[in-house]
Structures are given as structure tokens and as C-alpha cells.
Amino acid sequence: MSTAFRPDGADAPLTPADDTDALLRVNNLTKYFPIKQGILIQRQIGAVKAVDGVSFAVRAGETLGLVGESGCGKSTTGRVVTKLLDPTAGEIYFDGQDIAKLKRHQMRSLRTDIQMIFQDPYSSLNPRHTIGTIVGAPFRIQKTKTDKGVKAEVQSLMERVGLNPEHYNRYPHEFSGGQRQRIGIARAIALRPKLIVCDEPVSALDVSIQAQVVNLLEDLQSEFGLTYIFVAHDLSVVRHIADRVAVMYLGKVMELAPRDTLYSTPMHPYTHSLMSAVPVPDPKKEGRRERILLIGDLPSPINPPPGCVFHTRCPKYRAVLSETDRERCRSEVPVLEAKAPSQFVACHFPEVRADIASGEDAGISGGESGTVGSESEAGTGATAL
């Protein structure tokens, strides 16, 4: 029984990776880390299923946010897309070319197009190299010709990201965390890449500095037409910067939707609990908000639960569903499919909760809002859009 929402418009994709003019298409991406035992003869006794069948597409010029808790596979996804790790299975189409099986040396020419910004500005810069060497390295490695020489190019990059070009010969330890992150950004944009994977670029920074770096990333995106995959755990930052957001849990995408849709009408029970857990800097609203507490800890990715991976902690499974419905959650893996236009949800029993993110009383409580399932034509979801 197909439960997919059938859109009338031809341009609305049916599957998350079904977008032919996307810059990057990831289809059923899987990354298992083997667990081995034995000293001389090593046998594989299991695998950490870090990423387990993830599909999405990123259009040129847009920002896709990947959110989720630690251990959900968002960073691994970012690293596999940049081919810092080789995928176990699945396809990665970049600019129409499948790069999933390319070898290291074949990837080298593509590194000009795909770059990465790392989380920890203290460990991602070589402490023995000057800023000039660090930011100039992409030019030397790729043997890129520059108009006025590498030094002039690096200095103009430094100026562009808000660093003093006179600090060309300084070392990373002479800079603060925010400035170091700017150095990492300058290095990433040096070769004018098309796609940048930002792995938690602002989570190590103070609030006031975080806003500076977020604004810089947005400016660079519009100036150079960059495409971002923005990996983060902070839902407020992702709401600010991303155009579309994918919510991950235990190696799978739970919900993928345009930003405003996701934050105003989240459908997956996991998205609900994630959003309700974010504390809002407003004491009066904070007192009114309903907090959906998850019970227990994240299951082990070595041996994930059967059926829907979230069912062991799902508040809906625990409190609302009937035993036959529960049986379905335990046995059948929900497919990530469109339950409303452009809103992909991997849940057998999704429901719209409009009251979660805002903290305002939207007048919708758990029991009253309709379940968007097979027959209801995504009623609540479509009207809320």
C-alpha cells in the first residue's frame, strides 16, 4: 500500500533524492564501520551502522541543514559526501557524476569543488604553519594559477573573511576561536568551490561571535553562489541559516522539509520532541511550553531496533497507538516519503504539531490534530502549509 502524498505539480519530487537538476544527489547512502575481533586473523563480528540508507538532494545555491543528536550520523554523512570516508553502499551524484566509487587520486581534481569547514577551530589548523601557509595550501596543492601570486590572493581572502591581512605570518595560537574559524572559512573558499560541507562550524563559539560567523557564511554564500550542507545540533541556528532541513536519528533521515514547513508544522514525533526540548530565551513562554521528554538513551547503532528505529523511545508509540499499530512500528521500516508537498517523513503515523516550535498556544493538542496517513490526503499538513 503506497502511502505517498501524490502532488499535482510535476516539479514536486516523489522521493527525497529525485531532483534531477540538483547539484548533489545522495541516494541510499550507507556507511558501516566494521567491528573486528582477533589478533592475527581478524574477523568482522559486527558493524556500527553510522549512516543507514540516507537519501537527499541539494540544489545549487541552497543550504541544507542536517540536524540531530550526537551519534545520529550527521557528521559521518558530511564526511562521506566529501569522500573523507568511503561509503559502504549508495550513490553520491555531484554535478551529474557518481563520485561514490572514485579513488583518492580521482577525487583530487574534485576537491576544488567540494570543501569542508570543521567544528573545532583549535584542532583543524596545523599549529606549526602560518596563516599564509594554511590559507595558501589549496592553491599550491591544486597548482592553481593566481593573478597576482598566492600571497596577494591569500591576503585578499583574509580581508574578505574579516581578518587583518597583515597577520599573514602569524600562527594559529595567536588568534581567538572566532578568528580561527574565519581562517578555516578562508581556506575553504580559496578555490571558489561549489559545495561546502560545514560540520558544526559555530558550535564551539560564544554567542556573540557565533552570530558574526553565521552572517559571514551567509554573505559568502550570496557573493560566490555557494551551496552549503550545514551540519549542526542547534535547531535555532539551523532555522536561521538553512533553506531545507533534514532531521536525523540513528543513521536515518526522519524528516526532510523546507525550513518554514518543518518549523511551523513538524510531523515526525522525533522532530516534535527535539523541538520541544530546545529552551527558549523567554521566561514567560518557557513556563507555558509543553516539553515532550524522551525516556531512556539512544539505542546502540551496532544493533538498532527493528522496524522504526525510533519506536523504543517514541512518545506516540508509548501513549497513543493501538497494539496493531505498534506491531507495524516494530516490524515495518517506515520509508521516507512525501506526506505533504516537499515534506518527507519516515513515520507510519505522522501528525502535524504546529504548537511545538513557537511556544505559543496554537490550540492544537496531541489528541485533536488528525493523523496524516494513507487515506486522509495529508489534510492537516496541506492546509497548514
Binding site: 543528536e69 550526537s70 530565551p281 516550535a357 511556544g359 505559543e360
Partner: protein, 357 residues
């Protein structure tokens, strides 16, 4: 434990405050110069109250908490001022006196539970040790008490989990075990230094809920150190905003979130993206960098990053250090360190800042 009675100085009038910090200064002499980690900080915490300390890295939040616990004793740090805990003065106390208070009267929850637990000892033994030091009981009683605490903080199968090592616990469970360790002797003062920063939001929500529950149950005073204004709004009663080693604004949470009067507090509120409001096209960051604590700016410590210095006549922001003065309009405990005229400050907040949030 036979602790000597603490020296009683001339006790100031601290009202009903359980902890009173008066003009605390913690200075570290270094080869590059004197680092003024905390420079003249005063605040009171009553029992049954959660006091939040907010600020960026290097603003002196953690140095303050370490000074209260006496963890600077034996280091190079020069500490002046007074810390009154339930009638005892702590700055002048000896290491031995401090040790009898730590764990018993006051306890601390650290940010990173993995590095603050010993990897070589079982979790249960580490918690029981804290109880044995302060109570003359047998090991089996201490074990029973530990299992009780592990159960209280929501660890499943506490009697089996007693014998686990820290690496067998997940991040959230370790933080629960840390809280159990801190609470095992029923401390009257609990200092939580970024207790949820290393945790995911769903686990953070669980831990904050637990802390609020335990606080109601034991009626303890809690100091919550954090950089997350959302956490402050959710848990705290009063707030101290620290910047460059000083308190720049203090008041109730309602004062801070609805009527802040210090440009730094405004900057904190405008620079953070928020989920509960309409999405802004651009964030409004505070320009520049936090100050060096060796070369603290002359005048107001925030002046290099402040956008409102021209509202003060005669460049006083650059020459005179403003005092922490009570505000005229706000509630009783609301005080601000700023030269801008109070009426002007309120006009700026309601006219220019609040609408942009």
C-alpha cells in the same frame, strides 16, 4: 572528620542570603602581566533559589565558582574580598576547613562528566567515597545510600549500575551520576558549571528537569553557570551577567529578558537566533572580540564593543569605570553597570532594541 571551627570575622549583614559574595577579586600573576579573572564581583544566593551566571568564555564565570569552592587555594591566585557561606567566611579559610565543607555543605557539577570521573574506579564506589568522607557510616550503608541516589536521579537498575565503570555510561547517564555524587551528602549549595553544555537538547531537557525537581525537594541554593540564555530562562530565578571579570547587570530573569538596561545584555539577546520568533534576515552580532583580562579596557570594560558610547557626554565610557547601580524603574535587585542615563537606557531598549528581537 574533626574540622576546626571556622574563624568568625565581623559578619556583614547578609540578610537571608545563604551564600554572599562581596567584592571578590581573583587575580593571577603571569609572565605577561596580572590576569584579572574576577574583578570586584558581589552577589547573594538564598536557599531554594537558582542563580544563573551568564557570560562568554573568559568572563570569569568558572573562576568565580572555583573561588567559592576554594579550588584556587595552593595556586598562585591572589584572592581578595569575602565569601560568606551560612555565616562562615571562605576566602580566609584553611585548606582543611574547605575540605570539610566541600561535598558536605557545597558541591559542584562539572561540565564534562567523563573527565571529572576517575576511569579506573567503579561509578558507585566513587559516589560512596564522597559519602564515607563526610559521614561515619559503614561501607554497606554508604552503598545503600548510593544506590538510593542513583535511583533518585533516574538511572535504571541502580544496584547493577553501581558496579559499572564510567565508560559504560552514556553521556546523559554520566551527568546523572555526577549529580548523584554532588547530592549524596545533601549539600545546601550546589554549583553547576555548564552542566548541560556537552549534552544533546533532549538529554539537556531531562537533566534540567531533574535539577529543578531535586532543588525543590532539598531546598538547596543552586548556582547555574551557563552561556545559554535559553537554559537561564527555563531554570533560573536571578541572573548575574558577567563580562570581563565584572558583573555588568544583575536582576531577576524577568528584568534581564524583558527590561535589560546594559548594552551587552542587549547584544546577547539580539545576536542569538531564536526559534520562538519570526526568523530574522540577519543576526545582529556584538562586534569585536571579548577583552583581554591583562589589558582590561580603561573606563567601562565593554566600551570597545559598545555601540552606544556617544549617548554618554564627555567620553566618560572611556575614562571612568561605571559602578553597579540599582535601576530606578525595575524590581528591587536589578542593578546595571552603565553610564548611559537611566531614562535614555529605557528609551533605547523599548524604542530601538526590543522591536528588533
Amino acid at each position: 572528620m574533626t574540622a576546626q571551627p571556622l574563624a568568625r570575622l565581623d559578619k556583614p549583614d547578609v540578610g537571608d542570603a545563604f551564600l554572599s559574595v562581596r567584592d571578590l577579586r581573583v587575580h593571577f600573576p603571569t609572565a605577561d602581566g596580572l590576569v584579572k579573572g574576577v574583578d570586584g564581583l558581589s552577589f547573594d544566593v538564598r536557599r531554594g533559589e537558582i542563580m544563573g551566571i551568564v557570560g562568554e568564555s573568559g568572563s570569569g564565570k568558572s573562576v568565580t565558582s572555583q573561588a567559592i569552592l576554594g579550588l584556587h587555594k595552593g595556586s598562585q591566585a591572589r584572592i581578595t574580598g569575602e565569601i560568606w557561606l551560612d555565616g562562615h567566611e571562605l576566602v580566609g579559610a584553611t585548606e582543611e576547613q574547605m575540605r570539610s565543607l566541600r561535598g558536605d555543605q557545597m558541591a559542584m557539577i562539572f561540565q564534562d562528566p567523563l573527565s571529572s570521573m576517575h576511569p579506573f574506579y567503579r561509578v558507585g564506589d566513587q559516589i560512596a567515597e564522597a559519602y564515607l568522607v563526610h559521614n561515619k557510616v559503614s561501607k554497606s550503608v554508604a552503598k545503600k545510600r548510593t544506590i538510593e541516589m542513583l535511583d533518585r536521579v533516574g538511572i535504571p537498575n541502580p544496584d547493577k549500575r553501581f558496579s559499572d565503570y564510567p565508560h559504560q555510561f552514556s553521556g546523559g547517564m554520566r551527568q546523572r551520576a555526577m549529580i548523584a555524587m554532588a547530592l549524596v551528602c545533601d549539600p545546601k549549595l550546589l554549583i553547576a558549571d555548564e552542566p548541560t553544555t556537552a549534552l544533546d537538547v533532549t538529554v539537556q531537557a531531562q537533566i534540567l528537569d531533574l535539577m529543578k525537581d531535586l532543588q525543590r525537594e532539598f531546598n538547596s541554593a543552586i548556582i547555574l553557570i551557563t552561556h545559554d540564555l535559553g537554559v537561564v530562562a527555563e531554570t533560573c530565578d536571578h541572573v548575574v551577567v558577567m563580562y570581563g571579570g565584572q558583573c555588568v547587570e544583575t536582576g531577576s530573569v524577568n528584568d534581564l529578558f524583558y527590561e535589560p538596561e546594559m548594552p551587552y545584555s542587549w547584544g546577547l539577546l539580539t545576536s542569538m537566533p531564536r526559534m520562538d520568533r519570526t526568523r530574522q534576515e540577519r543576526l545582529q552580532p556584538i562586534p569585536g572580540q571579548p577583552p583581554s583580562l591583562i589589558r582590561v579596557p580603561k573606563g567601562c570594560v565593554f566600551n570597545p564593543r559598545c555601540g552606544y558610547t556617544e549617548h554618554v557626554p564627555g567620553r566618560r565610557c572611556f575614562t571612568d569605570r561605571p559602578d553597579l547601580l540599582p535601576t530606578s524603574g525595575g524590581s528591587a535587585g536589578h542593578a546595571v553597570r552603565c553610564h548611559i542615563d537611566p531614562d535614555e537606557r529605557r528609551r533605547l531598549w523599548t524604542g530601538d532594541i526590543q522591536p528588533t528581537l
